[in-house]
């Protein structure tokens, strides 16, 4: 056991571990929010409005006297939920499209990938915002909209990875022994293209958090009183002078979660592809 620890190459996994620690802490906040948070995120306290950080309220209170620390902890739930669901939507549909394009080739490939390239040419925020206009503002719709934004990226990656796998002998062999399309895709292709897609998923997580908070910041995502880092930051705008902590705290929360996922993504990329480094 000790020798396992000693032989573990900490330097190689440094980035992943750092990012993982940050995300781990945030996940703990998200999962155990009701037990960790000192107050309810919704309880108003008119007497304690816009209080600066103190012993009673470690990070101060907002314009309705709600405890900022508790709201920030609870908001981790929405961010993590959105990140998880949006990245999953992107991962699942993107992979399906990418694999289908590479597997069937020809016209299917051309039509699908042209459409993906087209979606890719819109700036992500613009696409998300326009989708929100069509779907209506709610946090569920924000997840869907952000998920759709991710589809082109995942599909491109899945297609490239599938093409590599298709050139391998064993897919030829599977075809030769009469394996069906479905089994070839699920048994031979998917397991072999997973690694790059997971790295991309880590990046998608961080991007989803950014996009969700931007949408909520604009009032298009999570709706008050439900706390989200984005809409808290939006509220904070009105009190930048009197209560700067209302802007600093939720922004820092976004920053650390994005940083955490980026570190994991960068780290995984280095570990999986040693040639990328140096």
């Amino acid at each position: 056991m000790i020798s396992v620890l000693r032989d573990f190459d900490w330097r190689r996994w440094r980035l992943v571990l750092t990012g993982g620690t940050i995300i781990g802490l945030i996940l703990i906040c998200a999962i155990f929010a009701p037990w960790i948070a000192p107050y309810s995120p919704y309880d108003l306290d008119v007497v304690a409005m816009l209080q600066s950080p103190s012993g009673a309220h470690l990070l101060g209170t907002d314009e309705l006297g709600r405890d900022l620390l508790s709201r920030t902890i609870h908001a981790a739930r929405i961010s993590m939920e959105v990140a998880f669901i949006a990245a999953s939507v992107g991962l699942i549909f993107g992979t399906l499209i990418g694999v289908a394009a590479a597997y069937f080739g020809g016209l299917v490939d051309m039509v699908l990938m042209r459409f993906m390239e087209l979606l890719f040419s819109f700036p992500a925020i613009l696409l998300a915002v326009v989708l929100m206009a069509s779907l209506g503002t709610s946090i569920l719709n924000a997840m869907i909209a952000i998920g759709i934004v991710f589809i082109p990226g995942f599909s491109r990656l899945a297609r490239a990875a599938t093409e590599v796998v298709l050139r391998e002998q064993y897919v030829e062999a599977a075809r030769a022994i009469g394996m069906g399309h479905g089994r070839i895709v699920f048994v031979e292709i998917l397991p072999n293209i997973l690694a790059p897609l997971l790295v991309e998923a880590a990046v998608a997580f961080s991007y989803a958090i950014l996009l969700e908070s931007a949408l909520s910041f604009l009032g298009l995502g999570a709706q008050p009183p439900e706390p989200s880092w984005g809409n808290m930051l939006n509220t904070g705008r009105g009190f930048m002078g009197q209560a700067p902590w209302l802007s600093i705290v939720p922004g820092a929360a976004i920053f650390f979660s994005v940083l955490g996922f980026n570190l994991i993504g960068d780290g995984l990329r280095d570990v999986l592809d040693p040639y990328m480094k140096e």
Binding site: R114, L118, L119, S121, F122, P123, A124, I125, L126, L127, V129, V130, L131, M132, A133, S134, L135, G136, S206, L210, S213, A214, F217, L218, G219, L220, L233, G236, R237, M240, G241, P244, S247, I248, G251, I254, F255, F256, V258, L259, N262, L263, D266, E278
Partner: protein, 317 residues
Amino acid sequence: MGRLISTRLAAFVMTLFAASIVLFLTINILPGSAAKSALGMEATPQAIARFEAQRGLDRPLVVQYVEWLSKTITGDFGTSFQNSVPVGPELLKRIPVTLELATLAFLIANLVAIPLGTLAAARHTRASDKTTTFAATVLGAVPNFWLATLLIMVFSLNLRWLPPGGFTSFVDDPAQNLRQMIMPALSLGLVSSALLIRIMRASMIEVLSSDYIRTAHAKGANETIVIRRHALRNSLIPYMNVAAVEFGFLFGSAVVIEDIFRLPGVGSLVLVGIINRDFPVLLASALTITVFVLVVNLIVDLAVGLLDPRRVKGSQA
């Protein structure tokens, strides 16, 4: 070069056409909601029917699209649902604001990324490289709208050096215009530079390890000449391709940043269109931003063609 331009132009027109379909369909796919938001939730079915009939919203989407497209091509962007004001002139007034914002931000991003990325690559594996890479990682995780808020708190509310928002045309008062633009451009540009630093560094490291750089050293060129004369241009070729995409993203982020700094640009018009469910406004402003993105990609593509002599002559694509 002529052929390169014409093929790129053709691709540009095709993409724009396809993009207009996607935008139109996305915005119009749910029927009826436009009338409801314009008339209020208590509107009678008759009133909604009348509203839709007046604006042709009851016809098939294809017909609506063709009509919208043919009008848009002639410069008629329709009238706002909200206040029946023509969208075209409003858009025209706002275009320079967004163009200025994104261009300034792009300039800042490159002015930071090209020297820092180059420096990090030249000091590859040394402390200053590690510092730069670390700084880029940190900067890349900062949400630009948070940076904008922090800048306002420091430079407008505390130090009172810069106005927290508003817009004055550059023609009317250049100094005031720049004072109002510097923070929005910085919040966009600095965050963008984070990614670009890493791209520039990677590109420069790759170039510096190539044989022709060894040739330059063997001729007796010093480090400065090697980088400025031999490595810079070659490493800018892959860099510019990424920078072009980033430039496009700056136009997208303008939606958020213009809102924070109360800049009357196309981005904030997108937001107005969404909040009022004013579809002609939303469609026109979103399409304008898409055109910006595509034009920027086209220009950068051609600029890279100029940097790379292999693409100028004997261009296949």
